[in-house]
């Protein structure tokens, strides 16, 4: 994978990322396998403006553990 730098955030972003328009139309198994493969191959950026609600739980199932690795402890409690 090749990466490009966002100069304002300092983050290296893969030149190929994921759009999620229709991933909600496939089974959870297919979606999770696809997302895990993308992660393994170095894709590190995904958009979540998607056609269907299922996309969010598919990402959760596939990548929640990976996301924990990125997290920086925050002194703030999430308040919504």
């Amino acid at each position: 994978m090749e990466y490009r730098l966002n100069k304002r955030t300092g983050e290296q972003i893969s030149i190929i990322g994921l759009g999620t328009s229709y991933i909600s139309s496939v089974s959870e198994k297919d979606a999770v396998e696809a997302l895990q493969l993308a992660h393994e191959k170095g894709i590190n950026y995904a958009d979540l403006a998607t056609a269907g609600a299922a996309t969010f739980s598919y990402y959760g199932k596939a990548l929640a553990d990976v996301r924990k690795g990125y997290a920086i402890p925050s002194p703030f409690q999430r308040k919504l």
């Binding site: 304002r8 955030t9 190929i16 139309s25 297919d30 950026y45 995904a46 925050s74 999430r78 919504l80």
Partner: protein
Amino acid sequence: MRYQVHFSANYETGQYGWTTELETVKKQIDWMLRSLQTDYIDYGFIHCLDTQSDWEDYQKNGILEFLLEQKKQGVVRHIGLSTHTPALANMVLDTGLVDQMMFSINPGYDYHHGDYAKGSADERMALYRRYETEGIGISVMKPFSGGQLLDEKTSPFGKALTMYQCIQYALDKPGVLTVLPGIRNVEDVRQLLGFLEVSPEERDYSVLGTFTPQDALGSCVYCNHCQPCPAGLNIGLINKYYDLSTAGDTMAADHYAKLEKHASDCVNCGHCSDRCPFQVNQPEKMKQVASYFQK
């Protein structure tokens, strides 16, 4: 994996919808985070604004304030904007809030074809340069114009382009960091990753020059089809640094200075102009660039 999450997308019905009600936005963000099994958002997006009144409503209804509050609390790391409209993009960029922008870029939209072909070719290119100059990244949505460009029956050019040509086209635009094609399964992901393996010829989109509209001809799009230059100039990069510098990018002159060969090394042989699909008079351009940078 970093996520772009959109503040005002609404999935209450199970399908995509759009809301400007603050309470619904709050509930939706909470639901998205729980479904994603995560407690942070890398890029919290001001979602899909295309008119000035969209932007005014977004502020008036408190959604922008909510997004900024989430950033202050550390839930949102950075702010993004998704839009299809250059005029609106410029308006929001003026606030200085935005670190990343999702914009629809493909040869169809850039050359006046398709639902989201907003702004002239020049206006769109000027916007991409502005992102690069201000260090804001672009993530590209609709790189294939919703698939239209991949089929000769639907392509506005009467000719199909390949996925890889479209991806390269988007990646060559100033400011672009990443292209986001839709995927559904492992085969789709493998096909996308194929981009990294194919030859430069398979990524070459110079065929576009044969159907570029008049107002876009004569402008370098940095496709590098002119290579190899007999005098060793990187003509695409020279053009890019010049365009960025004249758009106000203070780093561009430095980058230019570090090039091995400069516009003043042009021997005026015309090899580049003969090859240029976009009818750019490159030797003339090199004179202009050499006089601007004084080398």
